[in-house]
């Protein structure tokens, strides 16, 4: 995979299983996961982005259209995150990697 087998050591060397931290092994994938999950939350948490009547989509005020349309978007983001996490599971060193 993308990350090399000489990726830096995981932070917890003392863990019983000696599993290399998947986060350390795949830094870019891990960062992408964090960004995607945060974005999916912020997209509805920051109310000012969508608390408006215009532009209307058909007869629907923007606020209501946005909330409903955002649901599948957030679902797809989580689906992508789950796929990315599967990449994390593929260990860079060929050992038995742990998820996440």
């Amino acid at each position: 995979m993308a990350a090399s087998s000489s990726a830096p050591r995981g932070p917890q060397d003392s863990t019983i299983t000696q599993v290399k931290s998947p986060v350390a092994a795949h830094p870019i994938t891990s960062a992408a996961i964090a960004v995607l999950i945060t974005a999916s939350i912020l997209g509805t948490l920051i109310v000012p982005i969508y608390a408006r009547i215009t532009p209307k989509i058909g007869d629907w005020p923007f606020f209501y259209f946005y909330l409903i349309a955002y649901i599948p978007v957030a679902a797809i983001i989580l689906w992508v995150v789950a796929l990315l996490q599967r990449r994390l599971q593929q260990p860079a060193d060929g050992g038995d990697g742990a998820a996440r």
Binding site: Q12, T15, I16, T17, V19, I37, S40, I41, G43, T44, L45, I46, V47, P48, A51, R52, I53, G58, D59, W60, P61, F63, Y64, L67, I68, Y70, I71, P72, A74, A75, I76, I77, L78, W79, V81, A82, Q85, A98, A99, R100
Partner: protein
């Protein structure tokens, strides 16, 4: 029962009998050799796949009360009711972060309840008792509210209301609930899992039909939104303020954007802490099924968004609006809307969907509360050597007691009381966030500090909610109050206090070297995905003999 529509009534009764049959038959579904074990009765064998988990969690998360209360809030106050849509969007990314870890650790250690995990993680009976207590406390009014949902449908159907005898009035509700209690006793979690297929099919059908059909009767979406906007910007002569808000505002009129966002975030964080949701998640067979469901379950959120719009449809339809006004109960908005808009047979399907939609989560909640009582109170404090058979029997009986308690709750107390308690339930359950979700990631927090933080959050939340008043009520008026000049969800404020207390006291306890307690979990177990259940923990005595 003079005003009862025979067609509607017959369809509701037939569908109810159908799910009763399924509820009892479910005892034989995916049957295990030894049913007298909490993994079987209380978690359906811990073997549900993606598909069943989707139906079970969907039936669990989106309760009949949601279908009644969210549009009622939209009907009464406008856009603030849509916080529910925002919160069901956020709930899944939030749960995606911690729920797989909770599943893994509970699977590896055979934990049945979230309090089992806390006991194992911190080695603290006090904390596991706090978790069990909070869980049961938050669940009781929630179950009662499912009954309130059933009652609002029965009221609009005219069942029982024509009699002045309170016994006769409540009889249909009592019957429905006794049936529920008995099949839960017999089949355990398998019953709501099987029934949720029927429930969700009915609900998807009636919501989609309603969303496409009702606007054609009411002059289109433009007219619906226009009427709602006009209504919520006009001034209520009694309070001299607008009736509500059509779009969350930045000014201090009605609901503000901060109120909207904090309610949504707090509820999203609380949702997957509820013991009945944890129960539904733990019944899943694999870790990946949980993750997959985090992107599949939002399908129900779309449904919820459409259901919320029923509130605006009820405002637009003059007959429904007049009926609701006459009854003085906004909870009746959706049932009245369906009764007026749909032909009797289809109204019957919709009403049956709501009633069955109450039974599924009520059953899971009762099971979750019963498991908490059995594992973390009865076994922990009274009978440490209880066998799996005794545990299961205890849970079965506890589920009956919980349901009868909820029934009395719903019949005896005024409805606004149970609604307030349910709002408080959200505030309460959020206070286990540091110990439960925090504990999934770190043992840095000291167990006594977490307990103190929990207590501080519970006290602040309860007192703050008690003191909220508005024009019509002096207490429990809403679940938001004013902090530093902003209206914020009480649960979130209480959680901040909780976390601050826990952090500060952790520093103190660490400095004084207070005992940390033993941790029986290991780091890699939080990401494990064992295919097979671990062997049941040896309980010492009285292992059940396998029948058949």
């Amino acid at each position: 029962m003079s005003h009862v529509n025979a067609t509607t009534f017959t369809i509701v009764v037939i569908l109810f009998l159908f799910v009763t049959f399924i509820g009892f038959a479910a005892a034989h579904w995916r049957r295990a050799d030894d049913m007298m074990h909490l993994n079987e009765w209380g978690l359906g064998g811990r073997g549900f796949g993606t598909f069943i988990t989707w139906f079970l969690l969907g039936g669990d998360l989106y309760t009949a009360y949601t279908f009644i209360a969210v549009p009622a809030l939209v009907f009464g106050a406008g856009s603030i009711g849509f916080f529910a849509v925002s919160y069901t969007i956020m709930a899944f990314p939030v749960a995606f972060i911690f729920l797989p870890r909770l599943w893994s650790i509970c699977r590896v250690h055979n934990y049945v309840t979230p309090a089992d995990f806390i006991r194992g993680r911190y080695g603290s009976r006090g904390m596991s008792l706090a978790m069990a207590f909070t869980g049961i406390l938050a669940l009781m009014p929630y179950i009662a509210l499912q009954l309130v949902g059933i009652q609002s449908v029965l009221t609009v159907m005219g069942v029982g209301t024509s009699s002045n005898n309170t016994f006769i009035q409540d009889l249909p509700l009592v019957i429905a609930f006794l049936v529920l209690a008995i099949f839960t006793y017999v089949s355990g979690l398998r019953a709501p899992a099987a029934i949720s297929f029927v429930k969700d099919t009915l609900i998807y059908v009636f919501v989609l039909v309603a969303v496409f059909y009702i606007p054609t009767r009411l002059g289109g979406w433009g007219h619906i939104f226009g009427t709602a906007q006009h209504h919520f910007t006009s001034i209520n002569p009694e309070t001299h303020k607008p009736y509500g808000t059509f779009i969350p505002t930045q000014h201090a009129v009605g609901s503000t954007q901060l109120d909207f966002a904090s309610l949504a975030l707090g509820s999203a964080m609380a949702l997957f802490l509820y013991p009945h949701i944890v129960t539904g998640a733990l019944a899943s067979k694999r870790r990946k099924y949980i993750k997959r469901n985090m992107s599949l379950l939002p399908a129900y959120s779309i449904l919820l968004g459409l259901i919320a719009l029923f509130g605006y449809m009820a405002i637009t339809d003059p007959v429904t609006a007049a009926n609701v006004k006459k009854s003085g109960n906004a909870q009746l908005a959706v049932p009245y809307l369906f009764q007026h808009m749909f032909p009797p047979w289809f109204a019957g399907i919709a009403f049956a969907g709501i009633i069955i939609g109450a039974l599924v989560p009520a059953a899971i909640m009762a099971i979750a509360a019963a498991n908490l009582f059995t594992r973390n109170i009865f076994k922990e404090f009274f009978k440490p050597d209880a066998s799996p058979v005794l545990e299961t029997k205890m849970s079965q009986w506890a589920s009956l007691v919980v349901k009868i308690g909820a029934l009395l709750f719903a019949i005896e107390l005024p409805h606004t009381f149970s609604i307030n308690l349910q709002l408080l339930g959200g505030v309460w359950i959020l206070q286990v966030f540091p110990m439960l979700v925090g504990g999934l990631y770190t043992r840095w927090f000291h167990r006594w500090a977490l307990l103190a933080g929990w207590l501080a959050g519970m006290l602040y939340g309860t007192i703050a909610a008690y003191n909220v008043k508005n024009a019509t009520t002096s207490h429990w008026a809403s679940s938001s109050d004013i902090v530093f000049g902003h209206t914020v969800y009480i649960g979130l404020t209480a959680l901040v206090i909780n976390a601050v207390v826990a952090t500060l006291l952790t520093l103190v306890f660490k400095a004084t070297k207070a005992p940390e307690g033993t941790d029986e979990t290991l780091p890699h177990q939080y990401t494990a995905d064992p295919e097979d259940l671990p062997a049941p923990a040896p309980a010492g005595v009285g292992l059940g003999t396998a029948a058949d």
